[in-house]
């Protein structure tokens, strides 16, 4: 067991964890941050995407001990004072989710994408979220949501 201390969605937390525990398991099982989900075991689906010190990571690909001292933001910490983050609002507005299982990861990835590139082209968006799988939406409306969050005009 290793003692870690980190900040998750603004709150400081500290736990003894097994060295092999994944960050996503830590978030879900120890902290109850079940908004972040697990969709695969090969780091392909992106469902587990969170921000680690401000950058998007697949939290199934990071050990909990690696997050020691870091700041983690999950989907549950994205809205501030009850106000949806613009990307969250755009996903709702553009109907960019159906079952919603990919949505937390997809939103966290999109936020990071827009941070790097506030005005991405459609192709840049598509490549930027390539590591996140969605089986429901066909991506059409997800791309539109990212464009909308970026303040771009979109056609139907």
């Amino acid at each position: 067991m290793t003692r870690i201390e980190l900040k998750v969605d603004g709150a400081t937390v500290s736990d003894d964890v097994e060295p092999r525990m994944l960050l996503v398991q830590y978030l879900r099982e120890k902290l109850g941050k079940t908004g972040t989900v697990i969709g695969c075991d090969t780091s392909n689906c992106g469902a587990c995407t969170v921000h680690l010190d401000g950058r998007s990571v697949k939290s199934c690909n990071v050990l909990a001990v690696q997050a020691d001292g870091a700041e983690v933001t999950t989907i549950e910490g994205l809205a501030t004072d009850g106000e949806l983050h613009p990307v969250q609002a755009a996903f709702h507005e553009c109907h960019a989710l159906q079952c919603g299982f990919c949505t937390p990861g997809m939103i966290m990835q999109s936020v990071d994408l827009l941070k790097d590139n506030p005005n991405p082209s459609e192709a840049e968006i598509r490549v930027g979220i390539e590591g996140n799988l969605c089986r429901c939406t066909g991506y059409h409306n997800i791309v539109k949501a990212v464009q909308t969050a970026a303040g771009q005009k979109t056609e139907a």
């Binding site: 972040t36 989900v37 697990i38 709702h92 598509r126 969605c134 089986r135 409306n141």
Partner: protein
């Protein structure tokens, strides 16, 4: 309580047809979701499954001692330990009375019949410890020869279940001459051989994996009077019934909850070994138990879909009028006949004739057992396979005749003025307008311009060629009239149930037996009820997915929720209004006959007196002043059994660029104009179409469950099973042409499966259309760059060894072993090359 209002001067805005943003989004975008795997209960135990690495083997010994001794392991159970207590998995649709059906135990004790089958279960205090210990279970197998190839299995060369004596499970037939719905297909074919056109093709429907994003998960809590099961399922009600029927527990002691479910697409239309095992262990230990699968386990052992060989013979006159269609299918069931199993290809039986007026039709499907993962419904279930077959062969006919593929379709399709139309498969299509949908699609797509560009590229020998693919599809959805299901020997009905509860505060709670997993029922059903009761959209709450709340239901599949579940809701809502009328009359001191209900208000004809439905609900709640003898409740139930299916249709057009040097395909444009009847929420509909399209396109271009020679699934992770990403896909042009359905009050048709059903043939047709000039006749799906490149290179059938066989259908001696279409018009026999 009586209120007098001015009669409304303006019509309130209707909810139906509005692009309401979804109610369910709020929790999903903020992570306040209840997935089954989120559930933690004090003292909960976790399971890990030990699975067979072999496709077919005898279990000779299982040594669990080391696993049992490891840290925090509570028990390790084998099939022998679980024995009778585990129950059995059922097949709800024996398609023939003499269907050969192997017994399907959750954990077999003596023999495994596919790689991934469970042989032992580790029960531990944590998931990690359970998984660690599963590695320590030592199983000795004696490998048996495995039936892997579908055609070889159909010949019974190797038996998937030796004790059954055959791999042939059932042969299901439909013949229009026998059924009295049309002529004799053999006659049509012989006639066409004399002086018409006969097209014979064999197509492969590769095996697919539904690949819902949320892995399956089950939690069972045996404490309390009822055993409670949470499961990532599409079918909580059917699950409860099957559990009761096979474990001896009374149905009333089982509560099944489908909380938030992360996609299904048919893949969660199943009763699974893992669910049965979780129940058995929970009952055995008296503790709450959880099992959540890994993605690899999911891809390997959650059911697969499609997997058919399709032999099609199309007879036509020289002017392109089709005179008959004969379909012979081989369908791979995998190692067991699962819940719907063999019924899936049978659903296709009604759809091969599609939108066309074929005078003669014969369909035969042989279902076959193999040593692979069992197959069952995957989005479209039987109908995409059928649509693929017919829309591919209609293209071949057009090619043979040298006419535009849309022209040959139009020559044969049912004209708008011919509805209602009874098809050669015996279904009555209520409404549709194929001309209008096609005209609109062509215009949106820029059909003529793209054809011109294609010609120009061809003439200039451009290294990037352009292909245009067509698919004019229809489907039957809204499963299903119970009598029809009965006539097909399906083990249940096709009705749906709804309840409407008027709360004291004037809010409305509705309960539906349909169980959503991403479809947006909360929103769409709220819109329907808001209009019919004249209450605000926000005031309607939709409850579902818990057998203790929604006591009756038949769940969500077959594009049925809106057209069957929605209709039940309409009927229950109308009953509420009828119950409220005498109360309103009483409160308004008027005659019931004079009461009119409009926009949420009961008025007295010819006066201004009115009372709102909310006030009536309040009056009924307090029950202080009701008509004599009136029951103090407005709540109403309705169970609706559909009278017919409904038949959405559409025209899909795909423009594909093919790099002839690399075989790379690039979708340039995709346009569809669907007729799904009246639309409740256009935003939700569009989303359903987009998602459906991509799944169909993925079958054409990327996805396949591939097994190696020893029966191991090679594509058992998202590294190898190519679910498309955002970078693989494009934006789609989605349009509508509306002819309301006549089989339900709202005039709606199903939409959940349309995109998937229609898109696959449009895409494959587009790829072929781009490279036909190289002599390419067929490419087996998925049309990978390698296959496309090979097809271009060898100029004939190309594209992998499998495909060579597939392209040239040498199954009729009448084609002189050439296996391609022949036109017997006195000219030398020509293959369908150009």
């Amino acid at each position: 309580m009586t209120a007098t209002q001015d009669a409304p001067t303006t019509e309130p805005r209707l909810e139906i047809g509005r692009d309401r943003r979804r109610k369910e989004d709020q929790r999903l975008i903020t992570g306040r979701t209840k997935w089954t795997d989120n559930i933690q209960i004090n003292g909960m135990l976790h399971l890990a499954m030990v699975r067979s690495p072999f496709a077919h083997a005898k279990i000779t010994n299982i040594d669990v001692s080391e696993a049992k001794a490891s840290r925090n392991v509570v028990d390790v159970l084998t099939g022998a330990d679980l024995a009778e207590t585990q129950g059995v998995l059922i097949n709800a649709w024996p398609i023939t009375p003499d269907q050969v059906t192997p017994t399907h135990l959750p954990v077999p004790a003596d023999r495994v019949s596919f790689a991934g089958e469970i042989v032992a279960v580790v029960v531990a205090r944590s998931q990690a410890e359970a998984r660690d210990a599963a590695e320590l279970v030592d199983v000795d197998y004696e490998e048996l020869p495995a039936a892997l190839d579908l055609k070889e299995a159909a010949a019974d060369t190797v038996l998937a279940h030796p004790d059954l004596g055959t791999n042939k499970s059932a042969l299901w037939k439909f013949d229009s001459a026998e059924a009295g719905t049309g002529g004799d297909v053999e006659e049509a074919i012989s006639k066409a051989r004399e002086g018409g056109v006969v097209i014979e093709r064999e197509f492969r429907q590769q095996r697919l994996i539904p690949a819902f994003m949320e892995p399956r998960s089950t939690v069972v809590d045996p404490t309390g009077e009822q055993l409670t099961m949470w499961s990532a399922t599409q079918i909580p009600h059917i699950l409860r019934f099957a559990l009761a029927a096979t474990t001896g527990m009374p149905e009333s002691k089982i509560r099944v909850i489908a909380p938030d479910v992360g996609g299904g697409f048919g893949g969660k239309l199943q009763t699974t070994p893992e669910e049965w095992i979780t129940v058995a262990v929970a009952r055995r230990t008296g503790k709450p138990v959880k099992f959540t699968e890994t993605r690899s386990e999911s891809l390997m052992s959650a059911h697969h879909g499609r997997d058919q060989w399709q032999k099609l013979t199309l007879a036509a006159e020289k002017d392109g009028t089709v005179t008959g269609l004969k379909v012979e299918l081989l369908a791979d069931l995998g190692s067991y006949v699962s819940l719907v199993g063999g019924g899936v290809p049978v659903l296709g039986a009604f759809m091969f004739n599609a939108i066309y007026k074929f005078p003669a039709y014969h369909f035969a499907c042989q279902t076959v057992l193999t040593n692979k993962t069992w197959t069952d419904a995957y989005r479209g279930a039987g109908r995409p396979e059928a649509t693929f077959g017919i829309e591919r062969i209609m293209d071949e006919l057009a090619l043979e005749l040298g006419v535009d593929p849309l022209e040959v379709r139009e020559k044969n399709w049912i004209k708008a003025e011919e509805f209602p139309f009874t098809t050669v498969a015996g279904l009555e299509y209520d409404s549709g307008n194929y001309e209008a949908a096609t005209a609109k699609a062509k215009e949106m797509f820029g059909y003529d311009e793209l054809r011109a560009e294609q010609k120009q590229r061809r003439e200039s020998g451009d290294k990037v060629q352009l292909g245009i693919g067509v698919s004019t599809f229809t489907e039957m959805c809204g499963l299903a009239p119970s009598r029809v299901l009965g006539s097909l020997d399906y083990g249940a009905g096709g009705w749906e149930h709804a309840s409407v509860r008027m709360l004291a505060t004037g809010k409305v709670e509705i309960v539906t037996g349909a169980s959503a997993h991403g479809q947006g029922h909360e929103t769409a059903f709220s819109q329907i009820v808001a209009d019919r009761l004249g209450v605000p959209f926000e005031d309607v709450e939709v409850l579902h997915g818990d057998t203790q709340v929604a006591a009756k239901g038949l769940d969500t599949y077959g594009s049925r929720s809106l057209v069957v579940g929605g209709e039940a809701l309409v009927k229950a809502t109308d009953k509420v209004v009828e119950k409220a009328k005498p109360v309103a009359a009483h409160l308004l001191e008027a005659n019931v006959e004079d009461i009119e209900f409009k926009a949420g208000s009961f008025g007295v004809r010819g006066t201004d007196a009115a009372v709102s439905i909310q006030d009536v609900a309040g009056a009924v709640f307090v029950a202080h002043n009701l008509p004599d003898g009136m029951e103090p409740s407005l709540d109403s139930d309705a169970t609706y059994d559909p009278i017919n299916f409904n038949y959405p249709h559409g025209t899909h057009l795909c423009a594909m660029e093919v790099d002839t040097e690399t075989g790379q395909v690039k979708m340039r444009k995709y346009t569809c104009v669907d007729d799904i009847g009246n639309v409740i929420n256009p935003l939700i509909v569009e989303g359903q179409v987009h998602g459906g399209l991509v799944q169909g396109i993925a079958q054409a271009l990327w996805e396949e469950a591939v097994y190696d020679d020893s029966g191991t699934l090679v594509s058992a992770s998202f590294v190898d099973y190519l679910v498309p990403t955002a970078a693989d896909t494009i934006n789609y042009d989605v349009g509508h042409n509306t002819t309301p359905s006549l089989t339900n009050t709202l005039g709606t048709k199903g939409v959940g499966e349309a995109g998937t059903i229609a898109s696959t043939p449009a895409v494959v047709n587009s790829v072929l259309d781009a490279i036909r000039q190289f002599g390419v006749k067929d490419i087996q799906m998925p049309c990978t760059p390698e296959r496309v490149w090979k097809a271009i290179q060898d100029g004939t059938a190309g594209a992998t060894e499998d495909t060579v066989g597939a392209a040239a259908a040498h199954f009729d001696p009448a084609t002189d072993g050439e296996g391609q279409s022949q036109r017997h018009d006195g000219n030398s026999s020509e293959g369908a090359g150009q």
